[in-house]
Structures are given as structure tokens and as C-alpha cells.
Amino acid sequence: MGEEFSLEHRFQAYIDAENKIEPKDWMPENYRKTIVRQMSQHAHSEVVGMLPEANWITRAPSLRSKLILLAKVQDEGGHGLYLYSAAETLGVSREQMIDDLLQGKAKYSSIFNYPTLNWADMGAIGWLVDGAAIANQVMLCRTSYGPYARAMVRICKEESFHQRQGYEIMMHMAAGTPEQKAMAQDALNRWWWPALMMFGPADAASPNTAQSMAWKIKRKTNDELRQEFVDKTVPQATFIGLTVPDSHLKWNEVTGHYDFGPIDWEEFTQVVKGNGPCNKERLAARNKAHQEGQWVRDAATAFAKKQQARAAAPVSATNPSAA
């Protein structure tokens, strides 16, 4: 007990000195659990997050925009893969994590349970959803678990184009025909509040925040990140002539920040619980892909085994090279 206590102390001191934890280092069981949970949730979010955008790949309105969207959704798959890999360094298999997702036991970011209803949603997702995600991800590049931090550095580098391409779509549509501008405003209206919810519950209602901050898994609180996002995004909306759907939104000279209206946490809770507009469809799509891929994965495994057996088989006597 005493020894464990002192280990935990030294672990904390080690982290306080800005050192990274690597897979084989000793770590408190709770740290391991927290990290695995967070990395797998993050990976699931990337993979489920492919779906709302993939919904528009076949309908992208120009060849250029089709290529960009395709590359972006593909990147998200890559990011899911990096994160599953990082989680696997702690001994949990991807298969296990995916099973948890498919059975509805694992969480992923609620934002992906909202539908993509018009082309401007591709802009809004890049601008707002990726924008919110990037705020979080930049912080995670310095997270204390080494493999997670390294995966995040790679992801942040690749994501840098995502938000810009989203804003470009919004900018273009806001300056386009009246129909296009209406689509852009409609997309902003629908994605604004869910994007703010992405930062998670208010600090007062977030029981895990304190420990995660102490362990330097997180570096900023949910509310801090949310405020930064609002401060940065509101002028971007104004710049392209779109209106943020919040009547309480006001610049506060005293704090130097925007004040914004109350978030509908009941909606957030419902979506987390599985009652969002697309929860069932998203999980069904992942399950379908997984089930329909089973025979492919099995066949590849069987083929690899056959190949191994063939390579190990004794060389035929008629083979001249065997002499």
C-alpha cells in the first residue's frame, strides 16, 4: 500500500515535470483505463465520423470538391487507425474496441449523430466540427501518454487542411446564389449548438476533468476550450455574412470574450443516450460494414495460413535448386 502510494506520487511528479509516459512504464490502473477509454472513444469518433460526410461524396458538385471530400473522409479513417494503434500499445486489441463500439457499449463523439442535409453541411462540418476538434487535438499533442501524443501530432498535421477546406465551402456558398447562401445559413444553424456541445459538459458538471488535468491527459477544461472556440469562430461567421444562431451572443468588453446563450444540455444527454437523429443509423452502418467484411477478413487469414504452409513445405526433389 505504502509502496503503491509512493509510486503514484512519483508518477505524478514525473508527469508534473512534463515527461511522457510510454507503454511499458508503470502507471496507475486508473490512468491506463482513462487513456484507453479516451483513445478508443477518439478512434471510434473518427471512424463513425466518416459516415455523415461520406453521405455526400457521391453527390459532390464538382470533381475538385469530390476529390477533396474523398481525401478528407479517408484521412479520418487513417486517424481512426492511428488512434486504435496507439490504444493497442496498452494491450487492448482493436477487435475488442470495435466490438464494444458495434454493441453500443463504447461512446463516440455525439456530433456524428446529426444528419448531413445539404452540401453546405460539408462546409459546416469542416469549419465548425473540425474546428472544435482541432482545438481539442492541438491540446492533445502535448498529452502525457507518448503514443497518444505522437498519433495526435500526425493527426494535427494532416487535419490542418480540413478546417480550411470547410471554411472555403462556406465562404463560397455564402457569396453564391440566394439558394446557396440559404443552405450555408441553414447548415450553420443546425451545426452551431452541437459543435459547442462537442467540448463536453460544463466544468462544474464534468467529474473527470480534475483528474485528467492533473495527469496532463487534458490541458484545458471543457469550458476554456469552448470559450476559445466561440471567440475565434464568431468573427469568422461575421466575415462571410452569416449569422450565428444565438440571440444572447454579445461581445463582453470586461472579460474580453463573447458571452453566449445557454446550451441545451438535455439535447446533449439525449444524443449521448442514443436518441439523437442518427445514432441508430450510424451504428447500423458500422455493423453492416463489419459483418459484410467478415468473409473478406476470414478469407485473407485463411490465404495467409495456406501461404505459410506452402512456404514451410519440404522442397520437392524434382526442384533443381534443392540439390
Binding site: L7, K24, D75, G78, S85, S93
Partner: protein, 96 residues
């Protein structure tokens, strides 16, 4: 629902350009070495990050293990003479 026969894990090392060592990029799942190599190209060099790739089964890596009683929490600072800053050289000498 556990699958006994899932694709094994492979570690991917990429050489970004000639003259540099292969550097660990991450890992992936593949049924065999050939597929692992192709997937490594598809997954880890989407932005022309490399010109040469190594893959090897993760299970074949032998890793050193930090001592649990004396975790590697103390950085190995006991050989300062291995570091250039250990030596006092007057600024006038210039960069060395």
C-alpha cells in the same frame, strides 16, 4: 464475440528520404507481410512521407522493460559528460 483469427499487428517504419534512418510511423493490421507493406504505403505515406518502408510483425519486437521498483522516472542524468553542454568553451571560439 471474440474472433480467434484476427489479422496480426505490424509495426511500420518509414524512411522519409535517403540518408535518414527508417523511423517508426505507427502500426496496422494485415493478414500477411505483402498486404502489410501495401497497407503501410496506403496508410502512412498518403502525403509522400516516404521512399522506403519496413514492416515487421509487432510480436517479433523484443522490448526492454523499465524496472517496476525503480521506474525510469529518473532521467539518466548520471553521465553529464556525455552531453556537449558539460564542457565550457569560451563564446569567442564560436560554434563547436
Amino acid at each position: 464475440m471474440t474472433q480467434p483469427d484476427t489479422w496480426p499487428l505490424w509495426e511500420v517504419f518509414v524512411r522519409s528520404k535517403n540518408g535518414l534512418a527508417h523511423k517508426h510511423s505507427g502500426s496496422l493490421h494485415a493478414p500477411d507481410a505483402e498486404t502489410a507493406l501495401k497497407s503501410a504505403r496506403d496508410v502512412y505515406t498518403r502525403r509522400s512521407e516516404g521512399i522506403s518502408i519496413w514492416v515487421l510483425p509487432s510480436s517479433s519486437i523484443v522490448a526492454s522493460s523499465p524496472d517496476e521498483k525503480e521506474p525510469l522516472f529518473a532521467p539518466s542524468d548520471d553521465k553529464p559528460y556525455r552531453h556537449p553542454t558539460f564542457y565550457d568553451i569560451p563564446d569567442e571560439v564560436g560554434h563547436m
